[in-house]
Symmetry: C2
Subunit: 365 residues, 2 copies
């Protein structure tokens, strides 16, 4: 708890400094993960008002006790009426005349209501400040991600032994999710994908009633959430045998992933990492079958910046970022292969945080 | 699939009629549940453009195959570049000059980008149309909610037999979630709450490492998701025995819930239902210990209108609405009791869709 108080104070300091650079003395934070990052509060439906010296969490009675326990350095306002009334009161008490808000996280309707509720206060756009701070992870965050990886990997090892022909995608997903919980996860980081054969050609397939059979390809995209932080892995399993076409695709994807991981390092362009994977797949004739980006940041959310994609024209990797590397090939109506690991960018290079087997022969169950 | 095509066509018709009432010929739908409701598409990151005659789903290659399978009556645009470019093209092709959007669901930043991308198109606020249609459920939706209730209740019955002293809140939640999956749920409808003793005094507690012991109160708030639709139940279990104070609180909450359920019917004011529960708890001296509203709508989302709260000044129940009835009493640092069922408003009255036991003596395990 003392650690969280210190971390929260440090993050609020950085947040205020970035605000001051925009000549904004105070800001309203409405986005759940941003609120959690800055305050330590893990509940929902609560806003954080960051003033020049003090910060206030505006919550309701459902979270009163929890907020006081989780946010020792922050004053907790338990509203009885509407959020906007509570905000107006807190803004008045703090004598705030100029208030920043994040245009990405405030809806057009909420802005209108803010304007009405905060007469005499100038609302100014000050977007993405917490989100930018969140892109590079501090050691406590990297530890949480590693715990989330650990839970996912422990579950995966047991899962591989439990996979049997005849199991449906839904049953497989339930099995893996349960094992992640038993391994310490708060829950899955996102709806687990278990896609068999033709389903696996849809990169974001929802588990259905398709069943595993001998010779099947099973694509599993999964991750755990621990202390709010996520992991995000993909592995493919082969039931009993591997068809030659599948083998060729797998080797190409594995090579593409390896090339992208090798490209990762501080100062490297985001598009360069994508190009490393894409180049391998294009050379192998699978360029068109790789329709998504090579990876993305992970943290309190499953999709965070940076995006590693061909469109990522500018932008470079920095120490402290944690990204997925996940090229894939999708052959419509037949099967799909994706391999995904999580990589920390360090001062000198990179550290692959995930450690599950991915050699082709090891994926036969 | 044919059924979904028919339902989607009907919903789009109703949507267009409501739009026309606002003199808006076309609208952009960006909210995931709204998109799903109108089109049948179950994926993420996709927008629906509803023109006067045709509708287009703007998605990306990850969802191309799925979108075509799920949205037979709608043209699927698989974008290669940014969403806004795809939208601008589709708007141009459909010769749309006035485009409605939902100010609750479009951020200030996205609106700015829309203005820039759609030069020559007038953007007008047309909010909450799909959300309003979604408040009353059609028979297919009620069936899905009943399936979600069934999965939750089947899981609960097994869960009650598995509860043992020594189990942690996290372990208990994992157990119940897994049983819901095995009973046919796509997953939990929301993070399951398993709160033991003092934790249960926080209405939205996160499962932690607190352990059940003899004499404990265990509050469980849980629900399943089936075909996108959710259920939402709460029950309390007592380990071995019930302390007199707990007994008194339980009876008061049960009576309050019963009063609120009896109040439910078409044409009844939303605040009246809340008052029915609140009156009982106030008379029993627990008015201040009941800090939240009596209930809310459920459907594709876990919190939908209508809100049954003291603040719900206007608004009445209508046939087809499905609401939770969930009064509670929270005694800080000691324990909490909540009892929650799901109720369909019918033409003539109500139908309680949930059927789990809640008599005090039946809750001892």
């Amino acid at each position: 708890m003392a650690a969280m108080k210190r971390i929260s104070r440090l993050r609020l300091q950085q947040f205020r400094r970035a605000l001051a650079d925009k000549h904004v003395p105070a800001a309203l934070v409405t986005d759940g993960p941003d609120v959690r990052y800055l305050s330590g509060f893990t509940g929902d439906d609560s806003w954080l008002l960051v003033g020049p010296r003090r910060a206030a969490l505006l919550t309701d009675s459902r979270y009163a006790e929890q907020a006081e326990a989780e946010c020792p350095g922050i004053s907790v306002v338990v509203r009885r009426g509407p959020m906007l009334e509570a905000l107006a009161g807190a803004v008045r008490r703090a004598r705030i005349r100029r208030l920043g808000f994040d245009p990405e996280k405030v809806s057009v309707a909420v802005r209108s209501r803010l304007v009405k509720a905060l007469r005499g206060v100038r609302l100014v756009q000050a977007g993405g400040i917490a989100r930018r701070l969140r892109i590079t992870k501090d050691p406590s965050e990297v530890r949480a991600i590693c715990r989330a990886i650990q839970a996912a990997e422990e579950a995966w090892r047991g899962f591989c032994k439990a996979v049997r022909p005849g199991m449906t995608e839904q049953r497989l997903a339930a099995e893996l999710d349960h094992r992640m919980r038993l391994a310490g996860a708060e829950g899955p980081a996102f709806p687990t994908i278990c896609a068999v054969d033709a389903s696996a050609s849809m990169p974001h397939a929802r588990p259905g009633s398709r069943r595993l059979k001998r010779g099947s390809v099973l694509l599993v995209d999964f991750g755990a959430r621990v202390r709010g932080y996520v992991s995000d892995l993909t592995r493919c399993l082969f039931l009993g045998r591997i068809r030659p076409r599948v083998r060729a695709v797998y080797q190409a994807v594995l090579e593409a992933q390896s090339a992208a991981i090798s490209a990762v390092g501080p100062g490297v362009g985001l598009a360069e990492v994508d190009a490393a994977a894409r180049g391998v797949l294009e050379a192998a004739g699978f360029g068109k079958a790789f329709g998504h980006g090579t990876g993305h940041g992970i943290g309190l959310e499953i999709h965070e910046p940076p995006a590693l994609s061909p469109q990522a024209a500018k932008g470079r990797l920095e120490p402290g970022m944690v990204v997925t590397i996940e090229p894939g090939v999708y052959l419509r109506g037949r099967f799909g292969i994706r391999i995904e690991d999580n990589v920390l960018i360090t001062e000198r290079g990179r550290r692959v945080l995930t450690s599950l087997e991915k050699d082709l022969e090891a994926m036969v169950v």
